[in-house]
């Protein structure tokens, strides 16, 4: 958030509004969640910092890398670009909601069998992208996978993870 440089006093009108927290209601991995959130907090930060669901990763924070993918009403979205209050009344699915207890779902199992990881950091994002693609199109052709759907992110993804970001996100 931008730091304020002008000499306005804390009693100004702008700061009197400062206590506003947004009463957020949404469905997360099948459960109803209610929380009061900072309206400028991204969904990614809200999931990781407030709800401590750290499966969803953040790296570039500008919609390039896709490691923060979650499904909102079944559609893949970069959670670093969605503000938490924007998912009001929506259904959010994160990587934590994909598996059934300790049992990985089909896509996770295939990722394990194929060793489909590089450093592994963005794997939750890749799995969410694959979930979104296969939910809409259960038998995509190679071309559809590469060019027109979630696969574009998955196959030609570029890794935005610098050392600084790894340190920040742990």
């Amino acid at each position: 958030m931008k730091k304020r440089t002008s000499g306005k006093s804390p009693g100004s009108k702008r700061l009197q509004n400062a206590e506003q927290l947004w009463p957020l209601r949404f469905t997360l991995n099948g459960r109803k969640v209610q929380a009061r959130v900072k309206p400028t907090q991204t969904l990614l930060d809200f999931l990781r910092l407030e709800l401590e669901l750290t499966g969803t990763k953040g790296a570039c924070l500008e919609g390039e890398c896709g490691s923060c993918y979650v499904l909102v009403d079944g559609r893949p979205m970069n959670s670093c670009l969605v503000l938490a209050p924007q998912v009001q009344d929506r259904k959010v699915l994160t990587i934590e909601g994909v598996s059934r207890g300790d049992k990985p779902d089909v896509i996770q199992q295939k990722f394990i069998e194929c060793g489909a990881v590089q450093c592994g950091y963005c794997t939750p994002g890749l799995i969410m992208a694959a979930e979104a693609l296969l939910a809409r199109n259960p038998r995509p052709t190679r071309e559809e996978f590469r060019g027109t759907s979630a696969g574009a992110q998955a196959t030609t993804r570029y890794c935005a993870l610098s050392k600084r970001q790894r340190t920040r996100w742990g």
Binding site: K2, R4, P10, L15, A18, T40, N78, L83, L133, R146
Partner: protein, 282 residues
């Protein structure tokens, strides 16, 4: 809450509105005068906020206004609501717009980012804006007090400057359904790709040609000289070659981290040749 005192600086809190109707959103904007910022997808604004370059005082979130997400055919036109996303555009039967939409970002960005947001940001590299420019799109701009229609050719004024007034919102985009169109884009990689240059072309039922280019001027531009030349000669091999030469004179690219100005001039003529050949089925 985030008005915590940190050394010499004060952190500013943001007041958030989430109107359910267009009228409420416009009224909020009018009440706040300059202070309120509309956020639709937020793919530009939230990046700036994440990097500490923007701290809006009041955000008016448009993501829960149902009426803005609709696509409707109307009088030979297609009416797109302001919240229509690139993912929705990618499923339209208008080739240059659907392909342009499909070339924007990744699947996640396309589900979040909106066409009206692309116009309002007015990036010279706006793929959606460029496709709409070739389509002779018309905009509906609303304030709490009234509404006006504006041709997209009159919308972009200068680098990231538009004819949008401070309290106005882009509520609808109208595009023709019966133009024959084509799209070509050159970027640095296969996905999540910003245009080094991109071209859209359309052929009207009266056989007039429209050509628009991205990333080769301070705004997305139309190539009027080449268009006029082609409307006289018609589309054939020689006229297309001559038109690509005219295009080279009309573009005003700058050298940046994506490519040199010279290369972008060359690229514009190549992309224009490709889209025109496709229109002419050569």
């Amino acid at each position: 809450m985030h008005s915590a005192y940190a050394g010499e600086m004060w952190y500013i809190a943001t007041v958030f509105f989430q109107p359910k109707t267009l009228a409420e959103a416009l009224q909020h904007k009018a009440d706040l005068r300059q202070g309120g910022i509309f956020i639709a997808g937020g793919t530009d604004l939230v990046v700036l906020m994440n990097h500490g370059k923007e701290a809006p005082e009041h955000l008016i979130d448009l993501s829960h206004i149902q009426s803005l997400t609709e696509i409707r055919p109307r009088d030979g036109l297609i009416e797109l609501g302001g919240n229509v996303t690139f993912a929705q555009c990618a499923r339209l039967p208008v080739q240059c717009l659907s392909q342009a939409a499909l070339s924007v970002g990744g699947p996640g960005i396309r589900e979040i980012g909106t066409l009206a947001g692309n116009l309002a940001t007015a990036s010279p590299a706006g793929d959606g804006s460029t496709a709409l420019l070739a389509l002779d799109a018309e905009l509906e701009l609303r304030t709490a007090r009234g509404m006006r229609r504006l041709r997209l050719t009159d919308f972009f004024l200068d680098y990231r400057k538009t004819a949008l007034r401070p309290d106005e919102m882009i509520t609808k985009v109208f595009i023709p359904a019966n133009y024959q169109t084509a799209w070509a884009k050159a970027g640095k990689r296969g996905a999540v790709n910003i245009s080094v240059a991109a071209a859209a072309a359309a052929l009207t039922p009266e056989r007039r040609v429209r050509i628009a280019l991205a990333s080769v001027a301070p705004t997305p531009i139309r190539c009027n000289g080449a268009e006029e030349f082609l409307s006289i000669t018609g589309l054939n091999r020689e006229s297309i070659l001559r038109a690509t030469e005219l295009v080279q004179v009309e573009v005003k690219p700058i050298t940046d981290h994506r490519a040199s100005a010279d290369y972008k001039v060359h690229l514009s003529s190549v992309l224009v040749r490709r889209v025109l050949e496709r229109l002419a089925s050569l």
